[in-house]
């Protein structure tokens, strides 16, 4: 699969020389003529005339065209061989393209047979073509294979899964798309049946049969309706039960991983109250996050409340001080927002270190105009005029950081009343 590096250019060159690829960009239908023209150095128009002429004469041209369509890879396809091209073609091509292709292929084959003198009548040909096209629509798996990266990566899997996945939407295919695809397919097949009956003169008889069948169906419906309804209800009840037991299994798995684990640790470290308290806090926080249904790790985007919660957890674990976060509203974090979080983290750290060991209260409010974070401890408090040197350093990292990002930080301290750091970030009007 992976050739030696030095051989790559040569292989590339031969591949380019040998391969005929459909040129879909310049093609009229599927790019067969354009691609052939490119390869042979002939005007595609000439080839088109040849195909058209042979099609009109005997149908052979059409057969050849459709075969070429299926066997030749499109210009942006990777593989060179016909089989690979076919496999990829299945994955890449749109449903309608495939349905048309199958229909045309069959038409061409039938026309060719007739040209060779085999007795085929129109009564058979058109219905068969319609059935083939409709069937291809119903049985084909994906309408959006071209846009589906998984399908691109696994063309073979897709091909083998084609039959089994008739009614299941493929990855990337929306439900309405599936319904309309199948609807059109079914319509085509029914149309084929009607055309056949009409041509064979059996339509009137078929109407009678259909009527009789309808009457019988209604009669059976009335007779079996209660049973069918009960079956449906019991099926849905069964399904609900299955979902419930799945949920139960999930909860059990989570409890095993987290709570039981923590309880075991608590028993082991029963002699160390600080460690036990820290374990309990950590487990509590984790369980709350899980219960609230919020993802532990947001997909890419960091948000204010979650980021504060994470910072609080970190401080709590490192310093063994409870940090309670109350957030009103939420907002995504930009660079300034991250600075706010960093400053809030410093403030929590400060409060945990110097707050006298009591709980630290963090309050965040995300309004339209600004983000506010308050970090409060219940320490002895201090006189802002006589701040210890190490504390002033922390203050600089809070106040300075906020000012650099267009915000401000205020430290309210009163003797006996604890210390509160207020961080404000005005939000740019969006």
């Amino acid at each position: 699969m992976i050739p030696p590096v030095q051989a790559t250019p040569r292989r590339h060159a031969t591949a380019a020389r040998r391969d005929i690829r459909r040129d879909r960009e310049h093609g009229m239908v599927a790019g067969v003529c354009a691609g052939l023209g490119n390869r042979l150095g002939v005007d595609p128009l000439l080839l088109r005339i040849v195909f058209a002429a042979t099609t009109l004469a005997s149908g052979v041209g059409l057969v050849a065209y459709v075969l070429a369509w299926i066997l030749l890879p499109a210009d942006h396809a990777e593989g060179g061989s016909a089989a690979r091209g076919l496999a990829q073609g299945w994955g890449r091509r749109g449903t309608v393209e495939v349905a048309l292709g199958v229909g045309f292929l069959l038409l061409a084959v039938l026309l060719a047979f007739r040209a060779l003198g085999l007795p085929f009548s129109d009564v058979l040909i058109w219905p068969l073509v319609l059935v083939a096209a409709g069937g291809a629509l119903i049985w084909h798996r994906s309408a959006s294979g071209e846009a589906d990266p998984i399908a691109e990566a696994l063309p073979r899997v897709k091909l083998s899964a084609t039959a089994s996945a008739v009614l299941r939407p493929a990855a990337g295919e929306s439900r309405p798309a599936v319904i309309s695809r199948i609807g059109i397919g079914v319509t085509l097949v029914i149309a084929a049946a009607i055309v056949f009956l009409h041509f064979s003169g059996a339509l009137a008889a078929a109407t009678d049969v259909a009527l009789a069948a309808l009457v019988v169906a209604i009669a059976f419906g009335v007779i079996f309706a209660p049973w069918i309804v009960r079956l449906a209800t019991s099926l849905s009840a069964e399904r609900a039960e299955r979902i419930r037991s799945q949920e139960r299994a999930e909860v059990a798995a989570h409890l095993h991983d987290s709570v039981l684990q923590t309880l075991a640790l608590v028993q082991k470290r029963a002699g160390d109250p600080r460690a036990v308290a820290a374990l309990a806090r950590r487990q509590e926080r984790e369980l709350r996050t899980w219960l609230s249904g919020a993802p532990a790790v947001a997909d890419g985007e960091r948000r204010l409340a979650a980021a504060l919660e994470a910072a609080a957890q970190e401080i709590e674990e490192r310093h063994g001080v409870a940090v309670d976060v109350v957030a009103v509203g939420d907002a995504p974090l930009d660079r300034d927002g991250e600075a706010l979080i960093a400053a809030a983290r410093e403030a929590m750290l400060n409060a945990a270190k110097f707050g006298g060991g009591g709980a630290v209260a963090v309050y965040a409010e995300a309004g339209d105009a600004r983000l506010q974070v308050f970090v409060r401890d219940r320490g002895a408090g201090f006189d802002p005029a006589s701040v210890p040197a190490d504390r002033r350093g922390v203050r600089e990292s809070i106040v300075g950081r906020m000012e650099r990002h267009g915000g401000r930080a205020t430290i309210n301290a009163s003797p006996g009343g604890g210390t509160e750091v207020e961080l404000v970030l005005e939000r740019a009007p969006s």
Binding site: L291, S292, D324, V326, V328, G329, Y363, F374, E420
Partner: protein, 228 residues
Amino acid sequence: MSAMPRVVLVDDHELFRAGVRAELDGLVDVVADAATVAEAVAAIAEFEPDVVLLDVHMPDGGGLEVIRRLRAGATGTAPVRSRFLALSVSDAAEDVIAVIRAGARGYVTKTISGAELADAVRRVHGGDAVFSPRLAGFVLDAFAGSTAVAPATDRDAELDALTPREREVLQHIARGYMYKEIALRLGISAKTVEAHVSAVLRKLQLSSRHELSRWAAERRMLDDGAGA
């Protein structure tokens, strides 16, 4: 200060009841405790305590059910005059809001210290509301974007919004301030702070604001589901 408030303690965890009893010993008078809704209703009817400490989550319906049954007069007596203080490990907004709307005068989490709990009981006994920081956060969330600019003439509109002062008081509670400290910071009396909190509690219980109704409805739905 009058005599110690008489308290009935309702919680389905015996260990927790014992812990709270020990913590409150000498601070309030725990006259009875109960482990189920039925026991609670009977004990409250019998002792008519000043304050009921009520666990929100219990297997047979929890605090909400206790309040509902006493309201409905299941005991055959007149509705009790006891006040309810909800006590729970739950932080879910719908639990908190639902129990407040059912009639509880406050909500504290179970991690609260004994002294703080006793203080909260005394305050509820005195007719005030008790808001934990988290409850204050929920209320601010529920009333977000609805500051009453002028004293509203319409009663419903007044119930659906917080005044700037009420908002300020709630923000301070959420920031971890005690009532006394809030009074100092805002330059008002502690009584005024309490009046603001009581006004917020009233709005919380009576407002038809969409968020509040939704939370209560969700909670009721869960209860019905569990009861069926």
